[in-house]
Amino acid sequence: MTSDKSFYEFISNGVPGPEQKVDADNAILPARKLAFSRFKELGLPTIKTEEWRYTNIQRYLKDAFTLAQEEQGTVTAEQLKAASIPHLDSYRAVLVNGRLQADLSVLPSGGKITVSKLSDAAGNPQLQAWFDKHPHLQSQPFAALNAALFADGLFIEAGTNATLDKPLHIIHVYTASTNAFIQPRHLVVLHKSATLEVIESAVGINDNAITFVNAVTEVVLEENAELWHYNIQNTVKNSRHIHNTSATQKADSRYHHFNFTLPSAELTRNNLSVALTGSNTETNLHGLYLATGTQHVDNHTFVDHLVPNCNSNELYKGVLLDDANGVFTGRIHVNVDAQKTNAFQQNNNLLMSEKANINSQPQLEIFADDVKCSHGFTVGRFSDEALFYLRSRGIGAEAAKSLLVNAFAFDITDQVHIPALQDFLAEKIRQYVAGAINN
């Protein structure tokens, strides 16, 4: 399915529904149909849509795209190496254009943790129970579009008390040689007291064509489950990303989400939302965005305190260069009976050029009275004095800036519990600063 001109027009009016998809996953066809009619109802956002005020999505959809359904693509060992994280000891799930490639992957086996294609799990009761059910996804047109027409993705299930001896690294590789609109979809279910570390990273191989990724990840944490979820976005310039990640947390569960947006995708829009449906939960949302050129990075987060005694803590930090544009919207909802809620939110930005820009806003909706909530927002510029101090000790301008950016990002990177990932991020920051200076 290809739009000959504006894809925006095509998916608004011309795109056929999911009826024709009657293959292995027809168990979820009814859900796809529902999602499709929801998408039709919601329509695509414009800049008049409140949640899309600062991100003109029409601009990024005006090109022609192929709605990639069956694209296979091949990846060489070398390309895969470029996508890996040095010294990271992990399992590995490689997805090429959203499809799991078993021959390139090293998956856990024999234990209580399964990693499979979502399409192979269509009949699984977990999928029946959770697919496209998250309340926060219901109002998101891109999530609805994804549910209706996604090609494939991962289904990860960890049984009661299950743990893995090392993290699972999900590597997304995008290979399209003509403009492609790719829709991966994942469901992660951790049963009671299961724990898991998941790292997602993405690479684009072809910078001649535009890759538009519209991804959805649904996360379910049953009682006392714990998930460390790292998402690293560092694909090529010619790529555009909309990611909806929605988690449901039951009692005593812990969700640690990290989002790293690194150069240089031209558009990144993350909708991260967490519904707290059981008490005594812990939610840590950490974000770091480094943007250069004309990159546009938009993080919308939503923490929904539905029940008493839950703790959420959110820290997003951004470093913006050149003409880069940042958007942060942090919504916290505290339900009328969600007493004893602790909800903290902080967004700090470092602008390294006159033309870089950030729009940041908290949205606090607090209906309970016995709660502790706070939010804060700062924008700073680079300290010339600190830079001079470092340079006066023989540290070159580039290394000095890199030290300072690392220092700014430290609160976030310090929370990363995987040393190889910490090193990887430090190196990315170094490259980012070097790129910025050599520009």
Binding site: D384, L390, R391, S392, R393, G394, I395, A399, L403, A407
Partner: protein, 254 residues
């Protein structure tokens, strides 16, 4: 080692240095004194390469090279060090990591390999003792939350680690109690050698009891108005600066 000729510099369009002439040779200890606001910190800033100062006239030759043409980092790599009057706090950059980076960048500049961790730690230990620098501060963020005295000691500790040819100490003594002053001065004295030189900026002659200078210069209104030996410092301590200011004004009106 260092030759300053007719140095004029301004900041924010304001003329601060108005024709400085100074010659510092290997092995020498020069003290610079003078009232507040006379341009002492400005002189050290210009030498270290602080970018908001503009040199409008004159030249500075350091070890045969034009110092003013170099970036701040290259000046440091060539062997110039300035201990800041107000050391900067840098949250998130550990003291140790900072020093290691600095040391290795200087080594790279001179074509030397990075220092082995073991050797680096040994050196660190040795130099910490020299200025009695609290080892617990090493893993903390650079100067963050340090007391005034700790910051000043850290400056001298860095000086000891980086081992420059010419060290400029900008009021390193202010903020130190008498015991700390003695320790720091003893440290500096240990670093003195025939092929190194020091420029020590101070308000008080008490530092010069411990660090005995070869020359004392008085900076006033952007110029060196008097040069003498350590006795000049004593004289200033006794009589203050007013008599010198008057002398200058009389000369100007002649």
């Amino acid at each position: 080692m260092l030759t300053i000729k007719n140095l004029h510099a301004e900041v924010d369009g304001k003329q601060i240095l108005k024709g400085i002439n100074l010659e510092i040779r290997k092995g020498e200890m020069h003290a610079i004194m003078g009232p507040n606001g006379s341009g002492k910190s400005s002189l050290s800033s210009v030498l270290a390469g602080r970018e908001n100062y503009t040199v409008t006239q004159g030249e500075v030759i350091f070890e045969g090279k034009n110092l003013l043409d170099m970036s701040p980092e290259d000046r440091a790599r060539e062997g110039l060090f300035m201990a800041f009057q107000y050391p900067v706090e840098i949250p998130g950059v550990s003291n140790l990591h900072f020093l290691k980076t600095a040391l290795n960048e200087i080594r790279t500049y001179h074509g030397l390999p990075a220092m082995e961790s073991k050797e680096f730690l040994k050196l660190t230990k040795e130099k910490q003792q020299l200025v009695d620098f609290n080892a617990n501060l090493m893993n903390r963020s650079l100067n963050e939350g340090f007391s005034g005295g700790e910051k000043k000691r850290n400056e001298v500790f860095q000086l000891a680690m980086l081992d420059p040819k010419l060290a400029i100490l900008d009021e390193t003594d202010s903020g130190l109690d008498i015991d700390a002053l003695r320790i720091v001065a003893a440290g500096v004295n240990k670093l003195r050698s025939a092929d190194k030189a020091f420029m020590v900026i101070t308000h008080y002659q008490r530092l010069l009891e411990y660090i005995v200078p070869d020359f004392v210069h008085v900076l006033y209104n952007g110029q060196i108005v008097k040069t003498g030996t350590k006795e000049l410092a004593l004289e200033l301590e006794e009589k203050g600066y007013d008599w010198l200011k008057e002398e200058v004004h009389q000369k100007e009106s002649v």
